[in-house]
């Protein structure tokens, strides 16, 4: 039970699309992640997907359009909605997903989500 500094946690890795768990909130993993390039289109059948941009800018492609999400902005993708985050330049993001949820929506391709 102590404060968690997001920047210090992000400094512990440099890989992209590789979420690291920094805290627990009920049955959710609270994670930091670096985005650069394009993630695959995917969806989460049973959960919303929470993104908060900490630094940089991301683009969220969803059914019906693309949304620029800037530093200090959050975007929640509702459950079942196909989406693709991407970023031309590196972007740092706070991500919240239920524990056990594959980040790709598919356990076969999901990142391991190590804890920092």
């Amino acid at each position: 039970m102590k404060p968690v500094n997001l920047s210090e946690k992000l400094d512990q890795f440099t890989s992209h699309w590789d979420p690291h768990v920094i805290a627990d909130y009920n049955d959710n993993d609270v994670m930091v992640v670096r985005f650069q390039g394009e993630f695959p289109f995917h969806k989460h059948a049973d959960t919303d997907d929470f993104f908060l941009v900490l630094e940089g800018e991301m683009i969220m492609d969803i059914e019906g359009g693309s949304h620029y999400v800037k530093e200090g902005e959050l975007f929640v993708v509702p459950k079942g909605v196909t989406h693709r985050p991407r970023a031309d330049k590196e972007c740092k993001v706070l991500l919240i997903e239920p524990k056990g949820e594959p980040n790709t929506g598919d356990t076969a391709t999901a990142a391991p989500k190590p804890r920092l």
Copy 2:
């Protein structure tokens, strides 16, 4: 389904200890709130309490000590733990709690959590 700018939402009110809902994540309210002064000691029997400091600094008093939580830091109070957030100067916070959860832990004294 669109980006939510935290700063723009915070600019829509000036009251303290008055959380406003800006997004939904599964069955949780995602809120912004301004802290200044002392909140009462309280606990949430059935849920963790998620705080992310967006601007300024808060102090979280809990059993066993006090923690300074600075801009860019998060603090999750586990369920059942008595706590008191306070701030000498105004502090802006992102708060996540399950829908229906009273911010004081008690429906009789809870803030209404209006939606922005």
